[in-house]
Amino acid sequence: MPALDLNEIQATVLRHRPEPYFGTHIMLRIDDARAGRLFLRRLAPHVASAANWWTAGDAWIAVAISYPGLVALGVPEDSLRSFPEAFRMGMAARAEKLCDIGLNDPNNWDLPFGKGHVHILLSAFSDTEEKWRRAITTARSQVEGHGGVSIVLIQDFGAQPGSLNPFGYKDGIGQPNIEDSGAEPLPGQGQAINAGEFVLGYPANAGVPLPMPQPEVLGRNGTFVGLRKYQSRVGAFNRFLHENTKNDGERELLAAKLVGRWRSGAPLTLAPTRDDPALGQDPQRNNDFNYTGDPDGKQVPLGCHMRRMNPRDSRMPLLTDVNSHRIIRRSTTYGAPYDPNALSEADDEIERGLYFLFISAKAMDTLEFLQRDWINDGNFMGLSNERDPLLGLHQEGDTFTIPKDPVRRRIHGVQTFNVLRGGEYMFMPSLSALKWLADLKE
């Protein structure tokens, strides 16, 4: 029996994104506190818990609330003050801490992000188109025709050929192994991490629970979400691959070196020279490796996306507790499907990209750490100031280093392939907290 209160925790915290997947993010603004609470009361019975998350097959709805949303709902002042400072400030105000500057500056974000207009995020996930349509009808019917709550953005996601992300990769592999969450971990998920890192109210890595929003009914079994919207510049990415390779085979290898996995999902550790699509598809095998035999990155480059986001047993020059910086990722691809022939600058602006939900009991701290130290720097891996080739904010002349014999290959001309176009910090309450919010008095 899992020690976590799965009936209280929202499904999205533990349930993996299905494959294939269909879904919609709906962003709402609360115009009237009473109407907002009535909306939550209507919605609450439709929000899925994580009970039996490992077998559940139905579509589900998740709900998360921003700080301006909590204010708009009329949450009492002393309770508002108990939320972490970064959450209260919001993602746009934390731009410097997140290295969201230049191209990624909140001034360049799409509406409605960064302006305090996103109060509630509803996300519906499903493995079939039909169930998705039903879930979205349910969600919308709690909003429309009631007044006091307005839709500020509807964004469909998923339904991508082969469930590939905008650059043509299988994604979402390799989530943290959460202690006591009830299911057998997948091979290679690594040591179980204390549940309190991901859900409020349980012991975290340091042995004690993280500080929790008050009252306890509001904080316990809740967690935080960093929502980030990226526009994927597929033309720039394809041009980069073409300019640095001579044929399709080299291109696919370079694409694999940037990520650490072939586009099929097969990791370079287990398929170092040739893609193995069957391996990529197999969750029992596609994450089952470490870096003991590859300390210098000759298979999986030290600076590639996968090794940065989860260094596993890499030898690192900085003292690092790799378990302290893990985060649950629910990546959702939107817009036009991956196009290997997109090469023009116009292709960069075709609407397609990723909405990420980064979920953790300290999501703000972890995101800010990842953005500053593991994405927009390379010192932690001994790579000077080289940045993550996929998520980094790049400057002219930025490089990517591929270790090999007899000498490393250093590729110039890495660009910002994913441009940040929006983001919000949200709180994902437990099901009891949702009812507590709905029942707030004037």
Binding site: E96, N205, A206, G207, V208, L210, P211, M316, P317, L318, L319, T320, D321, N323, S324, D365, E368, F369, R372, D373, D377, N379, G382, S384, N385
Partner: protein
């Protein structure tokens, strides 16, 4: 990190600089003869060198307080010691720091230097360090990887909450003092980079030795 850059025309810079120098002379009117002579000598040297001496260095900050230059930050803390704390710390440093303590700091990888100074009859500690980036994002890593070393290095401070306690960040900030002026020789070199360049330089010398034989 914030950077203030002031852009002015060269002639504006010159006249503004001259005004500042005049103001400096007025403030030094109360100074002794050694300071006064030295000041005049330095000003004379500047005039010969031209107005570029007036350019202002960018000011940056590391996290909540503390200065930062390029990739390097400084931390200065002055805090009260527990009764008998200095004695215990001296014994710890003499017996253990040379091996396990230094080894732990080496593993941290971001530390250029650290110094502990006992002040005011062993009632206060001054701790000063130069390190890379920000320290606070790594506090969780310290707390899980080398908690005992940190609790021995700082546990004799009055009110030290323990490195595993989330309140430790606020404790450090409470006693942190901003350095007034700080010089860094290589602001773009992290401790990791410095060690790497040492290795590269050594390897290059070995290579050149062989080529030159």
């Amino acid at each position: 990190m914030t950077i203030d850059t002031v852009q002015k025309t060269p002639s504006e810079q010159t006249s503004e600089f001259e005004r500042k120098v005049q103001k400096l002379r007025e403030i030094y009117a109360d100074a002794g003869p050694i300071s006064k002579t030295a000041l005049e000598n330095v000003i004379r040297g500047l005039n010969a060198g031209g107005p570029e001496a007036a350019s202002e260095a960018p000011k940056e900050s590391a996290g909540r307080i503390g200065a930062r230059q390029g990739r390097v930050s400084e931390l200065t803390v002055i805090a009260p010691l527990k009764p008998g704390g200095a004695k215990r710390m001296r014994a710890f440093f003499e017996t253990l720091h040379g091996n396990v303590g230094n080894e732990a700091v080496d593993r941290v990888g971001t530390v250029h230097d650290m110094r502990w100074v006992f002040l005011d009859n062993d009632t206060k500690l001054l701790f000063a360090s130069t390190y890379d980036g920000d320290w606070d994002p790594y506090i969780d890593d310290f707390a899980t990887k080398i908690p005992d070393i940190l609790d021995l290095q700082f546990g004799e401070l009055e009110g030290w909450p323990g490195v595993r306690n989330p309140a430790v960040k606020d404790f450090i900030v409470k006693y942190q003092v901003q350095s007034y002026f700080w010089y860094v020789a290589s602001p773009n070199l992290t401790a990791v980079e410095t060690k790497r360049l040492e290795r590269v330089g050594k390897a290059l010398d070995e290579f050149l030795d062989k080529v030159g034989e």
